[in-house]
C-alpha cells in the first residue's frame, strides 16, 4: 500500500495579491506522498506549511500547478466538487480545535455527516462509536468549554474521521496542549496511521515529535521544499 502515490503535486504555487503587492506563499512545490504514510511538515512561520495543507484539503485553490489526489486533479474541481472532496476524502484538525462552541461533543462529531445526507439516527450512532474510539464516550453531552484541550482535540479528531477519509490533515494539532496531552494525541494519530492505513499529513514546529512518529518529514522555507528526510 505504501508504495502507491496518493498525493502528487506538480509545480504547485500559491500567490496572494494585496493591491499591487504579491506575496508568494508556495513556490513550485513538487511532491509525491505515498498512501498510508505519516508525513511531517515543518518550517518556520510564514514558510507556507498551512497554505500547502489548505490546498491539499481543498479549502484553497492553487494559483498554478496541479494537485492529484487518488488520481483526481483537485486543482481542476469546481466549488461543489471541492465540497464533496472535503466531505469524503480528507479530514482536518487544527491547532485551535475549531469546534462549534454551542454544540455538544456528539453534535460536533456528527456535524460533517449532516452534509453527507446521513439520517439523524445513523449520525448519532456513528458519532458515539467514534467518540468511544477516542475514549470520550462519557463526555458526549459536554460542550467544548467543559472539555480540556486534549479532549477537545480528540473530539476534533473524531469529527475529522467520521466520514472515513483517506487523508488526515493536521495543522499543528499539539500546539495548544501540554506535552503529556501532546504525546497522547500523537499516539492516536500514529495508531490511526498504522492500524487503519490512514495517510496522515501533519504540520508541527516540534521536530522531535515528528522525528518520533513521522515516516517522512519535509522542511519548507519561503514556500519551497528545502529538505526532505525519510526514516
Amino acid at each position: 500500500m505504501k508504495n502507491d502515490n496518493l498525493v502528487v503535486t506538480k509545480e504547485l504555487s500559491k500567490v496572494y495579491s494585496s493591491g499591487k503587492i504579491e506575496i508568494v506563499a508556495l513556490r513550485d512545490v513538487n511532491l509525491s506522498i505515498k498512501e498510508g504514510i505519516f508525513l511531517g511538515i515543518t518550517g518556520s512561520s510564514g514558510s507556507g506549511k498551512s497554505t500547502f495543507v489548505n490546498l491539499l484539503g481543498g479549502l484553497d485553490t492553487a494559483s498554478s500547478g496541479t494537485i492529484n489526489v487518488g488520481g483526481k486533479f483537485i486543482s481542476e474541481l469546481d466549488k461543489g466538487e471541492l465540497a464533496h472532496y472535503r466531505r469524503h476524502y480528507v479530514g482536518m484538525i487544527f491547532q485551535s480545535f475549531n469546534l462549534i462552541s454551542s454544540y455538544t461533543a456528539l453534535e460536533n462529531v456528527a456535524f460533517p455527516l449532516l452534509f453527507a445526507n446521513v439520517p439523524k439516527k445513523e449520525r448519532n450512532k456513528r458519532s458515539e462509536e467514534m467518540l468511544e474510539k477516542v475514549g470520550l464516550q462519557s463526555r458526549k453531552e459536554h460542550r467544548p468549554s467543559e472539555l480540556s484541550g486534549g479532549e477537545q482535540q480528540r473530539v476534533a479528531i473524531a469529527r475529522a474521521l467520521i466520514n472515513k477519509p483517506k487523508i488526515l490533515l493536521a495543522d499543528e494539532p499539539t500546539g495548544n496542549v501540554d506535552s503529556r496531552t501532546s504525546s497522547q494525541i500523537m499516539q492516536i494519530l500514529s495508531d490511526l496511521n498504522q492500524n487503519q492505513d490512514l495517510t496522515v499529513i501533519m504540520i508541527s514546529h516540534e521536530e522531535s515529535l515528528l522525528n518520533e512518529f513521522a515516516d517522512d518529514i519535509i522542511h519548507l522555507s519561503d514556500g519551497a521544499i528545502v529538505d526532505k528526510e525519510s526514516e
Partner: protein, 457 residues
C-alpha cells in the same frame, strides 16, 4: 442535507438567539398584521356592499326619471348625455312626457319587469310618545315592501294598502327615544302632514297669506300602528326605500299632503305638471337590465341602474386595495430590513462556524440553504402570528365600530372579512418576503472564505 435537517438546523440556530429572533419575527408580525387587517377591511366592506345589493335585490333595480334640463319642466328629446349636446329650442318637445300611472302600467307589461312603482314622498312631523321629528314619509305598496328590498328586524310588513299601519326604521325609532326597538311594534304613532288649504275652514291662514304674513297651510293628524321595525337602507341615492317611515300607498292617497321633497318638485308643481319624480322598477333577473333600460330610454325617460354604480364602486375598491397594500408594504419593508439585519448579524457572529461548515464538507449551496431556511422560518412564524394579530385587530375594531354605530341605529355589520385565500396568502407572502430579504445575507454567507473564517476569533 435533508429538508428535515435544514429545518432542525435553522430552528436550533434561531433558538440560540431567542431575543433577536423574537424581535425580528415581531417586526414581521406587525407588518403582516397591518397588511392582513387592511386587506380584510377592504374585503369586508366590499362584501358588505355587494351583499347588500344582492340581498335586497338592488342588482335588479332600475330608477326611472323624467327627462329634463335645468329649465325646470322643459323636456328634452335629444340625449343630454351625448357628447357635444347643445340644448337648443329644437331639442325641446312641446309636449311634456310625464312619469304617470299610464307609463307605470305600460312598464309592468314589459318583459322582465316584476314590479314598477312610483316614488311618493312627502314631508310630515312624526310623533311617538313624547318625542317628535320632522321627516319625509314614503308611500310604498305592500307588495313592493314584501318583494325583498326591505329587511324587517321586528314585527311584520303591512298586509294591504289600506291598512292604517306603517313600517319604521330602527334608526328613527331609536332617535325617538326607544332603546329597545322591538318594544315599538304594535304601538301607536302619529303623523302630522301639511297641505295647501283654500277651504272656508282655513280662512284665517288664507287672510294672513294674502297680507304677506304666513302660508295657507293646514295641518292634519293621522294615527298609525307600527306594524314592523325595518333595517335602514345604509345608503342614499336611487334606492327603493329612501325614508325612515313607509306607509301603505292606498292610505297615502287619501291623506292631505304636499307631495314635494325637494326644490325641483316645487317648480314642477308650479308648471302644473303632475307626474311622479321617480318610478322604481324591479326586474325578474339582471339579464333584463339592458333591454328594459333601452325600452324606458326609448320611451323618453332617463334611467339609473345601481348595477352600473356597482361597477364604479368596484373600481374604487381596486384603488382602495392598492392603497391599503401600499400602506401595508411600508410595514413589510421595515420588517424586511429587520430580517436582513438579523441575518447579517448572525453571519458575523457565526463567521467561524461557517468556516467550520465548509471545512467539514458543506457546499456553498448548503450554507445558503441553511440561512434561507432561517429567513423562511422567520417569515413563516411572522406570517402565522401576523395573521392572528390581524384577526384580533379586526375583531376589536369590529366590536368597537359596531358598539358605536349600532347606537346610532346602524345595523350590525362585519367590517372585516378573512377569506381563506387571504389567510394562506398572508403566510406565503410573508415567507416570500422573508426569503427575498434573506437573499443578500445568504449570498454573503456562501462567500465566506473558510481559511479566513477558521482563523477568526
Amino acid at each position: 442535507m435533508r429538508i428535515s435537517d435544514y429545518i432542525e438546523q435553522s430552528c436550533s440556530n434561531l433558538w440560540k438567539m431567542k431575543l433577536r429572533t423574537f424581535l425580528t419575527i415581531f417586526g414581521v408580525v406587525i407588518g403582516i398584521g397591518a397588511l392582513v387587517s387592511m386587506f380584510a377591511f377592504g374585503k369586508g366592506m366590499q362584501k358588505n356592499i355587494t351583499d347588500t345589493f344582492g340581498d335586497l335585490g338592488l342588482m335588479n333595480y332600475i330608477s326611472v326619471y323624467p327627462r329634463s334640463n335645468n329649465d325646470f319642466g322643459r323636456i328634452i328629446t335629444g340625449d343630454p348625455d351625448s357628447p357635444g349636446y347643445i340644448p337648443t329650442e329644437e331639442n325641446y318637445d312641446k309636449e311634456v312626457r310625464l312619469l304617470d300611472d299610464d307609463f307605470v302600467q305600460q312598464l309592468v307589461a314589459v318583459e322582465g319587469v316584476e314590479i314598477a312603482f312610483p316614488e311618493i314622498r312627502f314631508p310630515a312631523m312624526v310623533r311617538f310618545q313624547d318625542d317628535e321629528e320632522f321627516n319625509i314619509i314614503q308611500a310604498l305598496p305592500s307588495d313592493v315592501c314584501k318583494s325583498g328590498f326591505i329587511k324587517i328586524r321586528e314585527g311584520s310588513f303591512y298586509d294591504t294598502d289600506m291598512e292604517e299601519s306603517l313600517l319604521i326604521s330602527d334608526s328613527l325609532i331609536q332617535r325617538l327615544g326607544v332603546e329597545d326597538y322591538k318594544s315599538a311594534v304594535g304601538e301607536q304613532i302619529e303623523i302630522s302632514t301639511i297641505a295647501f288649504d283654500f277651504s272656508l275652514e282655513n280662512i284665517p291662514n288664507i287672510l294672513s297669506f294674502l297680507q304677506g304674513d304666513g302660508l295657507p297651510f293646514t295641518s292634519k293628524n293621522y294615527k298609525f300602528t307600527i306594524a314592523g321595525v325595518i333595517e335602514r337602507m345604509g345608503m342614499s341615492g336611487p334606492v327603493p326605500m329612501r325614508s325612515d317611515i313607509l306607509i301603505p300607498s292606498g292610505i297615502s292617497e287619501n291623506m292631505k299632503k304636499i307631495p314635494i321633497t325637494n326644490i325641483s318638485d316645487i317648480f314642477q308643481n308650479m308648471k302644473g305638471t303632475q307626474g311622479y319624480s321617480m318610478v322604481g322598477v324591479k326586474l325578474e333577473d339582471t339579464q333584463y337590465i339592458d333591454s328594459v333600460k333601452k325600452w324606458i330610454e326609448d320611451s323618453g325617460f332617463r334611467t339609473f341602474a345601481l348595477v352600473d354604480q356597482l361597477e364604479e364602486i368596484k373600481t374604487v375598491f381596486i384603488f382602495m386595495d392598492v392603497f391599503l397594500f401600499a400602506v401595508g408594504m411600508i410595514a413589510i419593508t421595515v420588517a424586511s430590513l429587520g430580517i436582513i439585519n438579523t441575518l447579517v448579524m448572525s453571519i458575523l457572529e457565526r463567521y467561524k462556524e461557517i468556516g467550520i461548515m465548509k471545512a467539514v464538507g458543506a457546499s456553498d449551496s448548503d450554507v445558503k440553504k441553511i440561512f434561507l431556511f432561517e429567513a423562511g422560518l422567520i417569515g413563516f412564524w411572522g406570517g402565522v402570528f401576523g395573521l392572528i394579530l390581524g384577526w384580533i385587530v379586526g375583531i376589536l375594531i369590529n366590536l368597537v365600530a359596531n358598539i358605536l354605530l349600532t347606537r346610532q341605529g346602524a345595523p350590525y355589520m362585519n367590517y372585516f372579512r378573512f377569506p381563506l385565500w387571504l389567510c394562506f396568502g398572508a403566510i406565503i407572502f410573508s415567507i416570500l418576503i422573508s426569503l427575498t430579504a434573506g437573499i443578500y445575507p445568504t449570498i454573503r454567507a456562501a462567500r465566506v472564505d473558510p481559511i479566513v473564517a477558521l482563523r477568526h476569533d
